[in-house]
Subunit: 229 residues, 2 copies
């Protein structure tokens, strides 16, 4: 398993993992350890404990720098939306980490490999392993590719409420008419991408894309805010 | 305020702070910003958001390395005990940070300077400022001096339950008599230090100190575990 996983990491992410023990620990579930007592394996929970704190800092640092005017309450909401089981399990699947988990037979039958909580744990454990193996810069490079682009795809846009911010900014100079309208709608039903634009008093001020109309509106508002500030 | 604070940081902790803006932000409360609108100050909440994640990682990393055999559940409990309002407000006071907070008049009257939640915020904000100014190694050096020694003083010992761990280890080889007894009790009533020892079947196996008998027993059990493993 480790050989294939290392090849996968190198091919897909350019990560040349050095210490196999960290990687093995990160992808080993307790149920597998219990079924193979002679192998004296460690399961992923300790390394996940570390990984959780690593990604929390990397995401915090990124948001702090990227949104210099966002108040703390919004930064926290956005961080919570990014650093959660729902997101992390999706990242784990997108990285095909589910294929490499060492699971006990019972858990395998119970379909644990697709369980969102387990996938989230594995993602955090991998971050912990990468941190131990290659340090924070390597983790940043990885999440820069896997996590942060999702912001611009509008994954977390509903948590940011740029629309309210835009409205408040524009109305400082009197009531104005803000209109959101759809530019396009693409892709199959289960993976649609919407493009929305926003105009003020009939003038175009921003455009954004997202997986829902609401998310795309938020991204359009964000683009407008960047432009107006 | 900044000049005195910088002198204090240099004299007490050897920290030569470079960017005054970070330090000012970390010690400025929203109430002060509201009372001084012309100064265009930032208040500490954003930098505290960052500092919280920084100290969370530093503490996690330390615990992960120091207790290689502690399962994740116990690491998490210990981290929660260390990274909390109660501890951080004490650290802030110990570092005399309370003396440098820029507070509005109303909050000053309401005695906010001694409020535990505010002191905790300021401690995290300072960590965020130090991280931005000098990076993670400088934060580690600081908490290595201010935070980690408290572990050996038994501050968080009740969260670790070394006593149960010791009992389980010793009883693997049959029932044995584990006895804790007091060695000494020193200091004034409000700041006592207890030293407790633990013996098994009459033989001394460890000794520890703490601010309560319970904490000192936990530290004695921890010392015994280190010795027996």
């Amino acid at each position: 398993m480790i050989t294939q996983l290392k090849k996968h990491l190198l091919d897909e992410f350019g990560i040349d993992f050095q210490n196999d023990a960290y990687l093995l620990e990160a992808f080993t579930h307790a149920s597998y350890v219990n079924e193979h007592p002679k192998e004296k394996l460690k399961y992923y929970e300790r390394i996940e404990f570390l990984g959780d704190a690593v990604i929390q800092l990397c995401v915090s640092e990124y948001l702090f720098a990227r949104y210099p005017n966002l108040p703390e309450g919004k930064l926290s909401k956005l961080r919570s939306a990014m650093v959660c089981e729902d997101s992390f399990s999706k990242f784990a699947q997108e990285c095909h980490f589910d294929e490499y988990i060492l699971l006990g037979k019972g858990e395998e039958k119970a379909n644990a490999r697709q369980r969102s909580s387990l996938l989230c744990d594995i993602f955090e454990a991998f971050i912990g392993a990468l941190y131990l193996d290659q340090g924070k810069a390597a983790v940043e490079q990885f999440i820069n590719r896997v996590v942060f682009p999702k912001i611009d795809l509008g994954w977390f846009a509903t948590y940011m409420d740029h629309k309210t911010e835009l409205q408040e900014l524009l109305q400082q100079s009197g009531t104005r008419q803000i209109v959101y309208s759809m530019v396009s709608e693409e892709g199959p039903d289960n993976a649609k991408t919407y493009v929305m634009q926003v105009s003020v008093d009939g003038e175009f001020i921003g455009q954004g894309a997202g997986h829902s109309k609401k998310a795309a509106e938020q991204m359009a508002a964000y683009a407008a805010l960047q432009r107006l500030k």
